[in-house]
């Protein structure tokens, strides 16, 4: 077992969805204060991993330790306490649509604390300032661009000063500028607030730019693990295909099928 410098330790984790095995006995460590990227092709269960860490899902076997606590053994109130210390950013922000920006960020504070409204105001404005949207506090979520919605959601995620933040595909569908803004913001917040960040993504360039540690997942396994340089120079064919975006390799271009010619020519599978 690793020591205290791991905030999250995943050991022998197996998770099944129906008959389909999503994770097969994987181990992942997330160091305190680091930015860890979980990458892999679509459909490898990267988001599922985040849900397992937050125990929105229950694994078939294995343990997940978050800050020394086994999340699958926690009682209801202990789990809700732990979740307050784990921020999560969803793909599209997932802001509550019937409240404006200010109320969305204030929401967790009002729900979980008894702070006076004046103090809440100060805190909310600080968090909004950190993501550069203090001026947008009166807007409704529908009036925000995708990148802005994600930044507001980020302000909401840090409202309770969590120990870690999990990012679910934070860069998907963003223009280069807001992508750059988000990359910078994730890095700066991580360093300034002493957070631990987990980024699930397949935007290799952006993610690996700020990630200290990268895990590559495929077929339910960790196929490669290391720093950006480690993976760039990796001998693993798999890592090479993913990091360089090659169309064919261990992940085949073709979905498994019968021979092409046979498929076209013969309907009944016999050649004349």
């Amino acid at each position: 077992m690793a020591g205290d410098d791991n905030l999250v330790e995943i050991r022998n984790l197996t998770f099944r969805h129906g008959a389909h095995t999503i994770f097969d006995n994987i181990d992942i460590d997330i160091r305190r204060g680091s930015i860890t990227a979980i990458m892999g092709p679509s459909g490898t269960g990267k988001t599922t991993l985040l849900r397992l860490i937050g125990r929105q899902l229950q694994p078939a076997s294995g343990t997940i330790l978050v800050d020394g606590e086994n999340v699958n053994r926690l009682g209801r109130s202990a789990l809700f306490e732990l979740r307050k210390r784990m921020g999560m950013l969803f793909q599209n922000g997932a802001l509550l649509t019937d409240m404006n920006v200010y109320d969305n960020v204030a929401f967790p504070l009002r729900e979980h604390t008894r702070l006076p409204e004046r103090l809440i105001r100060t805190l909310v404005l600080m968090k909004l300032e950190a993501v550069g949207l203090r001026g947008a506090r009166a807007l409704m979520p529908a009036e925000l661009s995708g990148g802005m919605a994600r930044r507001v959601a980020l302000a909401r995620a840090i409202a309770l000063d969590p120990m870690m933040i999990m990012y679910d595909e934070p860069f998907t569908g963003q223009d280069p500028i807001s992508m750059g803004v988000l990359v910078r913001l994730i890095k700066d917040l991580n360093d300034a607030l002493g957070l631990t960040s987990v980024i699930v993504s397949h935007d290799i360039a952006e993610t690996s730019e700020i990630a200290d540690d990268i895990y590559l997942l495929s077929g339910g396994k960790v196929v490669a693990h290391g720093s950006r340089e480690d993976l760039r120079n990796s001998e693993s064919e798999w890592a090479r295909q993913f990091m360089h975006g090659l169309p064919d390799g261990p992940v085949p271009f073709h979905y498994p099928a019968a021979g092409y010619a046979d498929d076209l020519v013969n309907h009944n599978g016999t050649r004349d």
Binding site: G54, R83, A94, H112
Partner: protein
């Protein structure tokens, strides 16, 4: 690029059978024209054919199919090497098409209806209904538990959403509920008048309207209207929050969606439905009164006298069902929202399903309650 020339076929009777001269492009682009010109020709199987493809520009599988149809599969398979213009590629194409025509794919999924399918479907549907029922009971349990957990902590009572939901569910529904029950009350009075006039008992129309509205119609009509109006709204609201990952966002903030979203909605419905039922009874009786006054010559004071004589217990029998109906409608509406998937289509499907289910269960429960109250003699 030159324009593609439509394919043509010419038939010439020669000394040793028939000669077929093909020209132009035999492609999908000219299929209609080609099939017309091919359709004019008939070859009987015995006639020897001399084929000439030299004039053919392009040929694709559509053209090849027409040619094979014209020649027949046997003749195509036996085409000699010496046919002018028959390149190895064309030969392969013709043989492939020929083979495909000889072994047509039968869609085995169609036209296979056997009696067993009916029982299989019934079985599958029963399993689904059983599973849905278990889910509903599970959800009911969770909601009650959450309610009990929140009850001793007034700080966690969500009064603002509760009041706002009561406004939407109850107050805003007053006009539609009042209007509809007024009309139904009038219709019931007319119906009673039609039947009772032959017996000379038109005065009992008043009792008919009053009893039916107090015991059944008031609460039932209101419940059905709220099932259509409110259960669907609950499903759509919660479903779209789910599609937008808002529910996940609540959970990761350490908040319980049942406490936050379900409890205020169900409680608001349980407050609103009895109040609306009261209004429904009043306006149903008023509708009956109007008809009695206009077409039965029963004066308003006489009408009210008879209404007044109806024992109050019938009113309580009807009203006692209202909170139960409200609870079930709210549960189904919220649960369907949680069950919906991430797409707009799924939210729509579950909205429909929540209306159908809640109306069905309300009518079912009402029937059971009617039996119970009758047996109990209330």
């Amino acid at each position: 690029m030159t324009a593609s020339a439509p394919g043509q076929v010419r038939q010439e009777a020669g000394p040793e059978g028939v000669a077929l001269l093909l020209t132009g492009d035999w492609t999908l682009l000219h299929y209609t024209a080609l099939s017309r010109s091919v359709g004019k020709l008939t070859l009987d199987n015995a006639t020897p054919v001399r084929l000439d493809l030299q004039g053919v520009g392009e040929m694709d599988s559509a053209g090849a199919t027409l040619l094979v149809r014209l020649l027949g599969t046997e003749r195509t398979q036996a085409l000699p090497e010496s046919v002018p213009g028959l390149t190895p590629e064309r030969r392969e194409l013709l043989l492939t098409v020929c083979n495909a025509l000889l072994h047509p794919v039968l869609d085995t999924r169609q036209n296979r209806y056997v009696f067993g399918d009916v029982t299989a479907r019934i079985g599958r549907a029963s399993l689904i209904i059983g599973r849905d029922l278990v889910t509903l009971l599970d959800f009911m349990g969770r909601t009650l538990l959450t309610f009990l957990r929140v009850l001793p902590r007034p700080r966690r009572w969500r009064l603002t959403p509760l009041v706002s939901h009561i406004e939407q569910i109850g107050f805003n529904a007053v006009p539609i509920v009042a209007l509809l029950t007024f009309l139904v009350g009038a219709v019931v009075a007319l119906l009673g008048a039609t039947v009772l006039v032959d017996l000379g008992l038109t005065i009992y129309t008043v009792d008919l309207v009053t009893y039916s509205f107090m015991r059944e119609f008031g609460v039932l009509l209101t419940a059905i209207m709220l099932a259509g109006r409110t259960a669907s709204a609950f499903t759509a609201q919660i479903g779209s929050m789910k599609a937008n990952e808002e529910l996940d966002a609540l959970r990761v903030q350490g908040l319980d969606p049942i406490e936050l979203l379900v409890l205020p909605r169900i409680l608001a419905l349980m407050v609103s439905l009895p109040l609306l039922t009261f209004i429904a009874v009043l306006s149903g009786v008023a509708g009956g009164g109007l008809v009695s006054h206009l077409s039965l010559d029963i004066s308003v004071s006489r009408y009210l006298e008879i209404v007044n004589a109806v024992p109050l217990q019938h009113f309580w029998v009807g009203l006692s069902k209202a909170p139960l109906f409200a609870f079930i409608i709210g549960l189904i509406g919220c649960l369907e929202g949680f069950k919906s998937g991430a797409s707009a289509e799924s939210v729509g499907l579950h909205t429909t399903s929540s209306v159908v289910q809640s109306i069905f269960i309300v009518i079912l429960l009402d029937a059971v309650a009617a039996l119970y109250f009758m047996e109990a003699g209330w």
